[in-house]
Symmetry: D2
Amino acid sequence: MEQNAESLDKLRVPELDEILGKKFPVLDDGFIRVIDYMGSDESIVQAARVSYGKGTKKVTEDRGLIRYLMRHHHTTPFEMCEIKLHVRVPMDTWRQWIRHRTANVNEYSTRYSIAIDATQKTKLGEWRLQAKDNKQGSEGYFPEEVGTKLTERESELQDFAREIYQERLMLGVAREQARKDLPLSTYTEAYWKIDLQNLLHFLALRMESHAQFEIRSYANIIGNEIVSRWCPIAWESFRDYRMNSLSFSVQEIEVLKKLYSGKKDEAVKLADSFGWLKIIDKRFAKNIERMEFEEKLEILGIDKPWE
Amino acid sequence: MEQNAESLDKLRVPELDEILGKKFPVLDDGFIRVIDYMGSDESIVQAARVSYGKGTKKVTEDRGLIRYLMRHHHTTPFEMCEIKLHVRVPMDTWRQWIRHRTANVNEYSTRYSIAIDATQKTKLGEWRLQAKDNKQGSEGYFPEEVGTKLTERESELQDFAREIYQERLMLGVAREQARKDLPLSTYTEAYWKIDLQNLLHFLALRMESHAQFEIRSYANIIGNEIVSRWCPIAWESFRDYRMNSLSFSVQEIEVLKKLYSGKKDEAVKLADSFGWLKIIDKRFAKNIERMEFEEKLEILGIDKPWE
Amino acid sequence: MEQNAESLDKLRVPELDEILGKKFPVLDDGFIRVIDYMGSDESIVQAARVSYGKGTKKVTEDRGLIRYLMRHHHTTPFEMCEIKLHVRVPMDTWRQWIRHRTANVNEYSTRYSIAIDATQKTKLGEWRLQAKDNKQGSEGYFPEEVGTKLTERESELQDFAREIYQERLMLGVAREQARKDLPLSTYTEAYWKIDLQNLLHFLALRMESHAQFEIRSYANIIGNEIVSRWCPIAWESFRDYRMNSLSFSVQEIEVLKKLYSGKKDEAVKLADSFGWLKIIDKRFAKNIERMEFEEKLEILGIDKPWE
Amino acid sequence: MEQNAESLDKLRVPELDEILGKKFPVLDDGFIRVIDYMGSDESIVQAARVSYGKGTKKVTEDRGLIRYLMRHHHTTPFEMCEIKLHVRVPMDTWRQWIRHRTANVNEYSTRYSIAIDATQKTKLGEWRLQAKDNKQGSEGYFPEEVGTKLTERESELQDFAREIYQERLMLGVAREQARKDLPLSTYTEAYWKIDLQNLLHFLALRMESHAQFEIRSYANIIGNEIVSRWCPIAWESFRDYRMNSLSFSVQEIEVLKKLYSGKKDEAVKLADSFGWLKIIDKRFAKNIERMEFEEKLEILGIDKPWE
């Protein structure tokens, strides 16, 4: 349990120090920047070795140990790293962001100060169509002529909202009340501090393809630009074992076993017994469990045995 | 450590069961209602007695024990009570509410569903003036003629915002994007579940006179209508020892000692040594520590020794 | 968002009410019993539908919805269920248990009261051998003749420890100090309250085959006897998607793809490029990533392509 | 919201860097040392100013702002500071310590490694008598002749416990089981990481005079040696407004008012109406609320009006 952290240098990660304070732009007027941090890949190892005692040192190398911890959900060593970000985010995105309860937060107060005079604006090519399959998603973009109109109308609304806000302030309405009709697109800022374990959980949910574009844009910067520099080994193992891994349920394992031993018919029978293959109007009825399994089969390069 | 909770009746609080599901209206279109709960004053006592063993039973009565726990910040027995509320709140208020991280939350999703078609509207007599002393407060109301104008303009904005939202939905814009300019006054709904200890902390901050009127209105209902019925003894002790208590700093105690022994001059000297009595333009400079102490002196019926 | 929870009956789960207060014995002198609870499978659905709005009701049935939530890690609806247990546990096991930080706890105080006069005793057939492969595990049991000796010596120590404790109390040593040398096998009791989501996380870690026998014994009771009665659909989906699921890393997916398409050689090459197949003394060197993958292959009924 | 943290120097606190890694001894064989930290008094101010916007800068100085935040329980800026300690603590003390749930922890594993071969030993002059008034406290020390005996017996027990532990390990008993009868006085080690806000809460409870001597010894080092160097202004305001402050209940305020206006008789009447002055056998019955108030009166230099 020896430690020589006395040397201050060992506490720093030069790759991250290089971008300290640098603003990574996100969306039309948002940003993320690193204010401060504590820990590194080495601190994860150091903390794990408090648990495991002296023995480990020689046996396992750092990378192997971090991958082992990630694989087996030994999460506490990752909590030993902490990072503080300064973010500028539309309130609508912030509403999702703040649902992650394990962070420390200091947000710009529109009760105390005048609201930031910036709203997230949508460019004419950025208007997204409602997804058909997924009630909470979007797919594809509107043609520019429609987009032009939508962007114009957006401007009208945002300008009018700001006009009303200014009008109220001029009259002397309390700031805490004047703000009540600001649009959700209004930018806010915050200091956001979180440990690596909880940050990775945030990224697993928000870098995922079904996460909304806006918060995904922030999550991508945090993951790809910041965590990748800060704790590159933890980052790699996170992508290998969490982000890009595949998980199979008890039912899916049963079907996979049949497929790997070449018994397609039995695989189909099993799937049917799970209720995956109901037929309506001569076609398979929508069944989410089956459809999600089909996606995984495709990743594994396996043709689905039905149809 | 015997317990006879087997009887289901003992798990219920009839006074709270009576209002289960009942909507308490808040603001123009909000509400709070109790969905479910676990525990009671008796559960607090029961949990405390697990800690203290058998001996306590006779010595201290329930009320005395609960008051003791509250006075000495023995918070864990209060965590043994849990309540689940269904609330309808303007998003602006919800932004403050959600900052309390210790609750469980399921909020209405405007990503998945069409936003609730209701915004908080301000009546003509309800427009508040910015406080002069307190940057984040309000004081007094606008005269009705100004209020009339403000309310009209509010309507125009809210109507326009809804028009744009509908326009986007009609065109097929994804709900997750269409909502981006909704006003903060838009109502949202949520299930909010929290233990009594954390609920009391929420109430201490949000029933306080400096809390914003809107969230205070919700907190008052929760405290006065719900907690008071649910755990009346805990509620009484909370008001006696937390809500309505007075706390004095080291410096204030020193001054109080001088005042009780009639040494006004020394009290003034002390205050001066703390930097409370700086004079600018022949008047005391604004000093928040002094001003807050003066308020406490007034509550104690003591004349301030300076001036 | 209609709800008719007004009817108290709908808040109860008869299958769980039946065992309320009943002690499930664990180890030689421990137990678990349910003191109270809030919620049910139905509350999970109810909370999810607050998020999703009215539309869902017809489309998805309850079971399908709960399975969907579990599969996609939509954890907040599971937090709407809460349970309070009374447990009696050896302090050594409690040391592991208490590491789960998301619960509310009131533990028997040996500072205030005299320590419970019971220690966990090991029967002669229950002494476990140190595992060879796994530094933190055990495998197999000692023969009875060794066990007899070990159990005798255990008794001597536990008796002596209690003798010293009594001696101190008789002399008037403060309880908070007299307890300092009690053995970790001493039983403690606690009220432990937790929401279903965090309870399932606890069970995922503590019902797992590598968890220590003692805490696993408690976890098994909680899972198989309590949660299974309380929220049977959530319980089933937890076992299908979490407890008994299999997860594959990016590297494992690559190898699996080769295996399905019959390209054994390429699978071996890939594995080698991952460093899984290093050879020492003409045998594969110990490589945990490879060994864990081999276990998964076995579950899928696939022969490993190397050797 | 300008920030120039780019300069790495500004992120360090030289007074704390000086003692980084240094072991502060506690008890007979324990220690505390700082492994790493993030933030400073300046970060508290910086975070508060994100909330308050630009305006504040000139108006309030740093010290005034930190004191204001502490006085008004604006806790989030204090959460922006984080510290990581390496501690060595008897398991009995650790059992109390770990009840603070808001920290990140990696503890030495006696499941994986052989238990630390050190137990907390009590010197002959350190044996404490059970307090008469306070069931969970101690007062005064045993004379040395009794202490000598107690210390001898302690040694016998600790030696025997270690002998049994070694015996088990020699025979090949699994470490996870061999440890089951270790005495609570066995030392453990941990990395413990926590934010300043939660650390201050820990210190408020554990530096308090009623906290057990052992954990108080650790808390005193953390407060007086570490936090005092790390965030001296926050530390001062914590002592002024929290540690050494006095809080008065609604009832106490009423009595104080009478006392400050010289109406002793009415003060007594009020106290009697609160049930504080019941007489048994011609003496005041034990009443904790009254007794605690009397202690506060003494601090204020006020004679109690009864008796």
